[in-house]
């Protein structure tokens, strides 16, 4: 499939509408943030150019480093759980008939709940006195409390995210799986390929494209997670579930003014950008290797 595409500079015309849309809704605001990050703003009329002062200030912030590590751990945990689980789910979903439709709808339900409602529901759901999850865990003998115990809070946020977002991975993989022509499976059957071989050499390579989107989306969105933990735990207990986005908002609204917050969000943006770039390139290389079938990584 990676034969060379014809070079055609006129293709830019086809891309132009997208570039205009995105430039309008993303680049303009981004420029404004860059502008803020270099100034000390007292009021719209009184502003002083401060250069990179805010960046230096933000980089030295110890709490920021802590929040960054918490964030990295969380996003890593999200990917390790949700990607394999989503692939398994996609493989287990029935392919045809009313069952397939019903399962599709049921699986997608959690994606359609507004994020603040997700947090609110889990807030009740996890309470030991009136919530199902909390009550069940207590029945099983765990001294569970997402408001009192940092580890419990962290695990609850992770479980909530897995519940909320695994369907995204599953739906993408499912659509990818369904695009594999029957002939591939027939050929595999004739060759007597094992289930695992079918997965490794047919399904996985064919899912590469959708899987890449899934990994990047889940990585980005979990890295910017805000509403759900904010509603569920408010970042607590202590700082256990204060992730980067929440820390940023605390700073922006509470202690700092606009300048440092803007500098912080630019650094934040660059971190996500860098990590996504690494992921993207790595996944592209892995994908090409497996296509040749020579690499058994």
């Amino acid at each position: 499939m990676i034969t060379t595409k014809p070079v055609n500079q006129k293709a830019w015309w086809l891309v132009l509408p997208v570039v205009i849309c995105v430039a309008f809704s993303a680049v303009l605001p981004l420029m404004t943030v860059v502008n803020y990050s270099l100034q000390d703003i007292f009021s719209p009329e009184r502003r002083v150019f401060v250069g990179t002062e805010w960046f230096a200030l933000v980089m030295r912030d110890e709490e920021l480093h802590a929040a960054l590590w918490r964030q990295l751990t969380f996003s890593l945990a999200v990917l390790t759980v949700e990607i394999p689980l989503g692939i398994m789910l996609a493989l287990a979903m029935p392919a045809k008939g009313w069952k397939s439709s019903a399962v599709l709808v049921v699986v997608a339900l959690s994606l359609l709940i507004p994020w603040n409602v997700v947090g609110t529901i889990w807030q009740i759901f996890g309470r030991t006195d009136i919530g199902l999850l909390g009550a069940m865990l207590q029945e099983m003998g765990y001294d569970y409390s997402y408001t009192g115990n940092g580890t419990h809070a962290w695990l609850t946020v992770l479980t909530m995210d897995v519940w909320h977002w695994t369907p995204l991975v599953a739906l993408l993989c499912f659509a990818g799986l369904r695009s594999i022509p029957d002939a591939y499976y027939q050929a595999a059957r004739i060759d007597g390929a094992s289930k695992f071989a079918v997965f490794r050499y047919i399904q996985l390579p064919k899912m590469r494209g959708v899987l890449m989107i899934a990994v990047l989306l889940r990585f980005m969105d979990s890295f910017m997670i805000y509403t759900e933990p904010f509603v569920l735990t408010g970042g607590g207990p202590g700082n256990a579930t204060t992730f980067l986005s929440q820390y940023l908002t605390q700073k922006a609204v509470g202690q700092f003014d606009l300048g440092p917050a803007a500098a912080f969000s630019l650094i934040y943006f660059l971190i996500i950008l860098l990590l996504c770039f690494i992921l993207y390139n790595w996944m592209q290389r892995v994908g090409t290797d497996s296509k040749e079938g020579s690499d058994h990584e």
């Binding site: 849309c21 981004l30 049921v106 009740i124 739906l171 499912f174 659509a175 910017m224």
Partner: protein, 270 residues
């Protein structure tokens, strides 16, 4: 062996579905209770079954307007996203041009902007344009994350279609628009369906931008909810009922596109 494997898969699927449905069941359960009952006791079924929470939503314009506004916003956003993304995705999947790889990745980077601090620039931009509190403002703002996603998903589906089809059509004398609309588009129906669903979903649940850019006339349901939550403590019951109702339109959308997702087979057959 085969049977055994099938059973394991089914068991896994059932377990997952139970896990997926429990919190939703709890929300439905809450939506039929009164606030006092939710907070006072643990019960699997509402003891004092009530429709009041739903009545509140269906009779109060502040509530049901939220749903209408959300639907308008999402519809505008979906239409724009897919219209601009289709030709772009085609260009990326079929041609090389200067800067294509960088542009492709750059598009995605626009999803990576942490929303919290971008709220103010958005507010300023749309105030300047006089678009505040209009459906268009929110729909346009949501393009930031939906257009890149739409291009990425569509490109994935289009690359699965052999290029010989395009070439044959051009040799047969099809013009590009005619080829695209009558031959190519039907081939990637599955992709369009999936894309439409994802655009719907991300726009439907987005809160921060939608809340910042609207005040009264175009206030979407997610923003309406936050207001009710903060008024005189937590109105858990109404919130749960509203939550249940927010799932309904999305469930309908996915019901309509389910065939496109499940019949991805058509893509490789030709």
């Amino acid at each position: 062996m085969n049977e055994n494997r099938f059973q394991k898969r089914t068991l896994f699927l059932i377990l997952y579905i139970v896990f997926a449905l429990l919190p939703i069941y709890w929300m439905v359960n809450m939506s039929f209770k009164t606030n006092e009952e939710i907070l006072s006791s643990f019960s699997f079924f509402p003891q004092h079954f009530t429709w009041d929470n739903y009545k509140t939503i269906f009779t109060d314009p502040a509530w049901y307007d939220g749903y209408i506004n959300s639907l308008i916003i999402v519809a505008i956003n979906m239409a724009i996203s897919i219209t601009v993304a289709l030709p772009a995705a085609y260009a990326f999947s079929r041609y090389s041009f200067i800067g294509d790889k960088h542009l492709f990745f750059w598009l995605l980077t626009n999803r990576m902007t942490p929303p919290a601090v971008f709220l103010l620039p958005f507010f300023q931009l749309y105030s300047t344009l006089g678009l505040m509190d209009t459906h268009l403002a929110v729909a346009l703002a949501h393009l930031v994350f939906n257009v890149p996603l739409a291009v990425w998903i569509l490109e994935g589906f289009m690359s699965g279609i052999p290029r010989e089809i395009d070439e044959t059509a051009y040799i047969d004398g099809y013009s590009f628009p005619r080829f695209f609309l009558t031959i190519f588009l039907p081939l990637i129906k599955a992709g369009v369906g999936v894309t439409a669903f994802f655009c719907f979903m991300f726009s439907w649940v987005e809160l921060l931008l939608a809340r910042t850019l609207t005040s009264v006339d175009a206030k979407p349901i997610v923003a309406t909810m936050t207001r009710t939550v903060s008024a005189s403590g937590m109105d858990w019951a109404t919130l749960a009922a509203a939550g249940v109702l927010t799932i309904v339109p999305g469930a309908i959308v996915i019901w309509f596109v389910r065939h496109y997702i499940a019949k991805g087979f058509a893509m490789g057959r030709v």
